[in-house]
Subunit: 206 residues, 2 copies
């Protein structure tokens, strides 16, 4: 009998613990979601603003993230995990030009939607955190470039490191121009792939 | 006689004033020069470090610049005045491709030498200060692109705003890659113009 009581009480404890953990997870997700929205709307949004938007007490937010920088760092990691998941779903097999076009399309959507956040994070966090977050997208592009030059699709008289640098400079530069209101989002969407194609196709000498 | 004494004393006063002013100018220049060097070596250099490197007392530095941000803002303006002077000296007449090559060469030297400083300033100053400082280089590129497409040298199926965005994205992106140690400076110097040429020449359809 005492064993049964013991196991009932264990079960209740376990259930309570699970409930607390799942509340905690829900709060944490809500805070990260609210942080993304608030900081995109207003890069100077305070932790108090973010707690309010997440519908949690400020003390709850501090329980999860002890500082603005800790929250931002986690936001960068969460965003990059999302980026990684979406990029991993792009089919990069088959014709290298088609693969490039698909990758550029998805990448642009991600960079454009996460662009403000990236700017905010760059202002707040050490460069190592930002660069460290970027290894996988870079490797994916390098791999596609290597494949495309191996089958003769892309020019091979410039280094892959340089072409990769151009790819990301154009993506992120375009997002900055859109944010500054100098170029329209629709224009970038149309122009990015033709621009990269011009960059990567064997160049006729003038 | 009293007039003569008066005028001698006036002359002495004027000389003293000129000496004080020229000391002040010299100190100010030394502080800005030291700030550029210190911040390039260590983006976290303190005002005390900068005063020491300039060979002035800390109180003298604060007499010229009341805060780190004020010093950084002046540094951005001074640097952009130097950029503007050097770019203005580039001969942009004649063949549009040659003009572009000359402009890219000088621009790369400037962006590369001022790159760290730019990064530091971007972290410290509001985006308006940084963007405001950039109007003239942009106008010069836009003007050259317009001339080159008018005479049939450059492709005209993408907007000048977009091509200008690409120009600056590649320049500044390349500087960031060099600072991150992913691409060598010599490679960028060799690759920038061919890359921009690929981007701007009429593209053969695949």
């Amino acid at each position: 009998m005492s064993e049964l009581v013991g196991s009932r009480s264990d079960m209740a404890n376990a259930q309570r613990e699970r409930a607390v953990r799942s509340d905690a997870t829900r709060n944490r997700d809500a805070i990260l979601q609210a942080a993304a929205t608030c900081l995109t709307d207003d890069p100077n949004a305070s932790l108090a603003d973010i707690a309010q938007a997440a519908g949690v007490a400020r003390i709850t937010l501090y329980g999860h993230f002890s500082s603005r920088n800790e929250l931002m760092t986690e936001l960068v990691h969460t965003s990059m995990a999302r980026v990684e998941a979406e990029l991993a779903s792009v089919d990069l097999s088959g014709d290298a030009w088609h693969a490039l076009e698909s990758l550029v399309d998805v990448s642009w959507q991600l960079v454009n939607s996460l662009g403000v956040l990236r700017g905010v994070a760059e202002q707040a966090l050490p460069a190592e955190v930002m660069h460290g977050s970027h290894a996988d997208p870079r490797a994916r592009v390098e791999h596609l470039l290597a494949r495309g030059r191996a089958d003769g699709s892309f020019r091979d008289d410039m280094s892959i490191a340089w072409q990769t640098a151009c790819y990301f400079s154009l993506l992120h530069g375009a997002a900055a121009e859109v944010r500054a209101g100098r170029v329209g989002e629709a224009e970038v969407r149309d122009a990015l792939f033709p621009t990269l194609r011009a960059l990567l196709q064997a160049s006729p000498e003038r």
